[in-house]
C-alpha cells in the first residue's frame, strides 16, 4: 500500500497537535493514527518521532509492545474473537477455530484481498454474553459455531470498486 507522504505529514501534525505534542500521550496519539489508517504506517512512526522529538526506537517500542497496534495494513473488516476467561469457558476456542477455517487465516493475519483481518482479544468486558465476536466494533454475543458463517457472510458484500 502506497502512503501519500504529504497527506500523512499533515495528519500526523493534526493528531500530535490535538494532544499538544505531549510525549505522555504517545499511546493515545498512535491510537488516533491507527484510527485514521487502520494500521501504523512506517512513515508515520518516523514522522511522529521527528515531530515530537521522541527517538524512533521508543515510538517503535511502544507500537510493537501494545497489542492494539498493527504495523501492517489490515482488511476492511476487522474480526475480533474474544478469548477472555468467560468466553473461554463457554467455548470461544471452537468459535475461533471456525472463524479461522471460514476465512482461511490465523489471528494476526489478513486475507489476500484485504477483506478481513482476524485478531483475538483478551476480554472486551461483555463477559456475561460470551462467547463474543466483534466485527468492525459491532458486538455479537452468545456466538454459536453455526452462526459464524452467516455473520461473516453479512460483511462480505464488498462493492468491487471499494478495493
Amino acid at each position: 500500500m502506497k502512503v501519500n507522504l504529504r497527506q500523512l505529514k499533515s495528519t500526523v501534525k493534526s493528531i500530535t497537535g490535538r494532544h499538544n505534542n505531549d510525549r505522555g500521550m504517545l499511546v493515545s496519539i498512535l491510537q488516533d493514527l491507527q484510527g485514521e489508517y487502520g494500521y501504523l504506517p512506517r512513515e508515520a512512526l518516523v514522522e511522529i518521532g521527528r515531530t515530537m522529538d521522541v527517538p524512533l526506537s521508543q515510538v517503535y517500542g511502544v507500537a510493537t509492545f501494545f497489542k492494539a497496534f498493527s504495523l501492517v495494513p489490515r482488511g476492511r473488516h476487522l474480526i475480533q474473537v474474544c478469548l477472555g476467561t468467560a468466553c473461554h469457558v463457554r467455548g470461544a476456542e471452537k468459535i475461533l477455530d471456525t472463524v479461522e477455517r471460514e476465512l482461511g487465516i490465523k489471528p494476526g493475519e489478513s486475507d489476500k484481498d484485504l477483506d478481513f483481518s482476524l485478531e483475538t482479544v483478551n476480554c472486551v468486558g461483555a463477559c456475561a454474553l460470551g462467547p463474543i465476536v466483534i466485527v468492525d466494533g459491532n458486538y455479537s454475543g452468545e456466538m454459536k459455531i453455526d452462526a459464524v458463517k452467516p455473520l461473516l457472510g453479512s460483511y462480505n458484500k464488498a462493492p468491487a470498486g471499494a478495493r
Binding site: 505522555g24 500521550m25 504517545l26 468467560a86 471452537k94 483478551n122 463477559c127 458486538y139 454459536k144
Partner: protein, 617 residues
C-alpha cells in the same frame, strides 16, 4: 451551563433540578451499556424514540439511555417509571407493544417480565427481581436511572454533594483520616488500604503530585470498571477530585483501555460537563482548589494494571514495570509522587464522605469493609454484575443471586482474581468472600472476576488457558516470568496433549515456586496461582491426564473422540456443518457415519445435534 462558584450554588442547582422533574412523568430507562449493545439495545432505543413520537407522546414520555444495571444476561433490559416496571430481553419488535400497552393503557406486557427461576412466576417491578433484591447495591444503586451523558441526573441523586462537603468544611488531613477509618481497601486487586496510600502521597516530597484512575481492567472476565465508567463516570470523577484535594494534587489521569470505547467517550464527556459546572478545573466551587484531569488510552496490555507499568505507559513508554524499592506514592509518574487507585475504589469515596467512615465500616468483615462488585460469569444462570457486602458466601453469590448452574450440570469450581487468582472447589463454597479469605485458600480478590465452571470444564485446560494468557502478556523484562511461563506452557501442552508424565507435574511445581519467589512484578509473582490451585484441589484430573491419558471433562482434543450413537435418526444437521466432510449419511433413519481419520474434533456436530446423538468419549 452556569459555572457554580460555591457549594451553596450546587445545592441551589440541585433544588432546581428536583423541582423541575415531575415524579409522575413517564420515563423509559433503557440500558445503553456494552452488554445490552451486543444484544441490540441501540435499535431498541431508536425504535422507542420513533414510536413515542409517532404516537404523539413526545411531551409526555422521556426516553433515557441509562448506564449498566448489571443484569446483562437478560439484556436488553429496561424499566418504565414511575411504576418501576422491569422488562427484559426486549427486542425492536416488542417496542410498539410496550408503548401501546404500558405507556398508553398502563398495563404490563407479561412475556417481557422477568420469570422467577424457581417458580416461573412473572415479576413486575425491578425492585422485586431476586437478582437485585439479594444484592446490596451502593455503587450501582441508581445505575438504571442515570444517563451517563447528563450530569444533572447524577446531581439529582445527590452527586457532587460529597465534594461540596469536603471543600466546605473538611481539611485534607481530616479527609484522609476519614478514608483510613472507613477501612476502604483498593479494589484493583492488591487490597492496599486506600487512606494509607493517600497519606503517603500527601506527605511525599515534591510540589507536583498526581492522582491516577486505573481503568485498564485487563483482567479477563471482569467488567465492573467498564460498567462504572460507562454508566456513572461522575461518581468516579467525584472520588478523584476529593482524593486530589486530600493529597494536594492538581493534575490527574484516567487510564482507560482502548477496548472500552464507550467508557472513553462517557468519561470524556463527564470531564467536560464537570468543567463547565466548575466542579473540575480551576477554582473548584469557588474554593481556590484547582484540579485538571486528562484521559489516556491504554493499548491492550495486561501488565499495565501494574502501577509502575501503567505509569511508564502514561509517560509514553513501553509498559514495563520496575522494581518497587521506591513506591509510586513517592516516585511515580515522571518521578513525582503519584496516587493510583482503581475505578471502583474512587467510586467508593463519595459514599464514604457522604455517609461517614463509621457507616462504611459497618458493612463487611473485620478486614474488608464495604461492598464489592463481582462480575459473575461463565456457567451460571444469571450472569452479570453483582454488588454484595464483603463477607457474603460464594454459595450465596453463585446459587442465590446467580441462580445456580444452567442445563442441570454440576458445579465444579469458581475462579476468582483473574489470571493472578485461583480455582476454588465445591467444598469451599461456604467461604466468606473477602480479601483475606480468598488469599488464604490460594486465590485472591483481584478486581472481582468470578468465573463459574461446571463439570464440562477441564481444570488442566483452564490452568493451561491462564498460563497461555500470561505468556502472551508477560512484558519480557525479567527472566523467571519470560522463560518460566514459556516452559510451563510447554509442559501443560504436553499434559493436555496426552504426553505428560508424573515428572512433568513435579517440574511444573518447581517452576511455580521459582516464579513466585523471583519475578519482578505481580504478574509473574502470581502467575502460578491458577496452576497451584488446580493441582491442589483437582489433582485427580491431572492424574487422569497423565496416567490414564484421559480428560474426564472431555475437553482436551487429543484425549477425546466423537462418536455417533445408535439413536441418530439421520436428520442431516451434522452432515451439513462438518467442515471436513467427515460425516456421511447411510440412508433413511440410519445413524450417520463419522470417519475418525477425517475428524478434526472441532465439535461442530456435537453442538448442532439437538438429540444428543453425538457422543464424546
Amino acid at each position: 451551563m452556569k459555572r457554580l462558584s460555591s457549594p451553596s450554588e450546587l445545592e441551589r442547582l440541585r433544588a432546581s433540578i428536583l423541582k423541575n422533574r415531575d415524579p409522575q412523568k413517564s420515563v423509559v430507562n433503557i440500558c445503553g451499556g456494552t452488554g445490552c449493545m451486543a444484544l441490540g439495545c441501540t435499535d431498541v432505543i431508536k425504535a422507542f424514540r420513533e414510536e413515542i413520537a409517532a404516537q404523539g407522546l413526545a411531551d409526555k414520555v422521556e426516553v433515557r439511555v441509562s448506564g449498566c444495571p448489571g443484569f446483562c444476561e437478560r439484556g436488553a433490559i429496561m424499566t418504565v417509571e414511575p411504576q418501576n416496571i422491569f422488562y427484559q430481553r426486549v427486542r425492536r419488535k416488542d417496542v410498539a407493544e410496550v408503548v401501546t400497552k404500558t405507556l398508553i393503557e398502563g398495563k404490563t406486557v407479561d412475556r417481557l417480565l422477568y420469570p422467577d427461576l424457581a417458580t416461573g412466576k412473572r415479576v413486575v417491578h425491578e425492585s422485586e427481581v431476586p437478582f437485585y433484591t439479594k444484592q446490596k447495591r451502593l455503587l450501582l444503586a441508581h445505575s438504571s436511572q442515570i444517563d451517563p451523558e447528563n450530569i444533572d441526573d447524577y446531581i439529582f441523586f445527590g452527586g457532587y454533594g460529597a465534594l461540596a462537603k469536603a471543600l466546605r468544611g473538611m481539611k485534607p488531613d481530616q479527609l484522609i483520616e476519614e478514608v483510613k477509618a472507613s477501612g476502604l481497601r483498593g479494589r484493583g486487586g492488591g487490597g492496599f488500604p486506600t487512606g494509607r496510600k493517600w497519606e503517603t502521597t500527601r506527605h511525599a516530597e515534591g510540589e507536583i503530585k498526581y492522582v491516577i484512575c486505573n481503568c485498564d481492567e485487563g483482567d479477563p472476565g471482569a467488567f465492573m470498571d467498564r460498567s462504572l465508567m460507562e454508566g456513572n463516570p461522575h461518581s468516579v470523577l467525584e472520588g478523584m477530585i476529593i482524593g486530589a484535594y486530600a493529597i494536594g494534587a492538581h493534575e490527574g489521569y484516567i487510564y482507560i483501555r482502548n477496548e472500552y470505547p464507550l467508557a472513553v467517550k462517557n468519561a470524556g464527556r463527564a470531564i467536560k460537563q464537570a468543567e463547565e459546572y466548575g466542579l473540575l478545573g480551576d477554582n473548584i466551587l469557588g474554593s481556590g482548589f484547582n484540579f485538571h484531569v486528562k484521559i489516556s488510552r491504554g493499548g491492550g496490555a495486561f501488565v499495565c494494571g501494574e502501577s509502575t507499568a501503567l505509569m511508564a505507559s502514561l509517560e509514553g513508554k513501553v509498559g514495563e514495570p520496575r522494581a518497587k524499592y521506591v513506591h509510586t506514592s513517592e516516585k511515580g509518574l515522571w518521578d513525582r509522587p503519584s496516587n493510583l487507585n482503581n475505578v471502583e475504589t474512587w467510586a467508593n469515596v463519595p459514599l464514604i464522605i457522604n455517609n461517614g467512615a463509621k457507616w462504611f465500616a459497618g458493612i463487611g468483615t473485620a478486614g474488608s469493609k464495604g461492598t464489592k462488585i463481582f462480575s459473575l460469569v461463565g456457567k451460571v444462570r444469571n450472569t452479570g454484575l453483582v454488588e454484595v457486602p464483603m463477607g457474603i458466601t460464594l454459595r450465596a453469590i453463585i446459587f442465590d443471586i446467580g441462580g445456580g448452574i444452567p442445563g442441570n450440570k454440576k458445579f465444579k469450581a469458581v475462579q476468582t482474581g483473574g489470571p493472578s487468582g485461583g480455582f476454588i472447589p465445591e467444598k469451599l463454597l461456604d467461604l466468606q468472600v473477602d480479601f483475606d479469605e480468598l488469599t488464604r485458600v490460594g486465590s485472591m480478590m483481584g478486581s472481582g472476576a468470578m468465573i463459574v465452571m461446571d463439570e464440562t470444564n477441564c481444570m488442566v485446560d483452564m490452568a493451561k488457558y491462564f498460563i497461555h494468557f500470561l505468556l502472551g502478556e508477560s512484558c519480557g523484562k525479567c527472566l523467571p516470568c519470560r522463560e518460566g511461563l514459556k516452559q510451563m506452557h510447554h509442559i501443560l501442552t504436553r499434559i493436555t496433549g496426552g504426553q505428560g508424565t508424573e515428572a512433568d507435574i513435579n517440574l511444573l511445581q518447581n517452576l511455580c515456586s521459582t516464579l513466585l519467589d523471583t519475578s519482578l512484578c505481580a504478574l509473574g509473582g502470581s502467575a502460578p496461582n491458577p496452576v497451584l490451585t488446580s493441582l491442589k484441589y483437582f489433582r485427580d484430573e491431572w492424574d487422569a491426564h497423565v496416567n490414564e491419558k484421559r480428560c474426564p471433562a472431555k475437553v482436551c482434543k487429543a484425549l477425546i473422540t466423537y462418536e455417533i450413537s445408535e439413536k441418530c435418526p439421520n436428520c442431516g444437521q451434522c452432515v451439513k456443518v462438518c467442515p471436513e466432510k467427515a460425516i456421511t449419511p447411510r440412508g433413511k433413519k440410519q445413524p450417520v457415519v463419522l470417519n475418525q481419520k477425517k475428524c478434526i474434533k472441532c465439535g461442530s456436530c456435537y453442538d448442532v445435534c439437538k438429540l444428543d446423538a453425538v457422543l464424546v468419549k
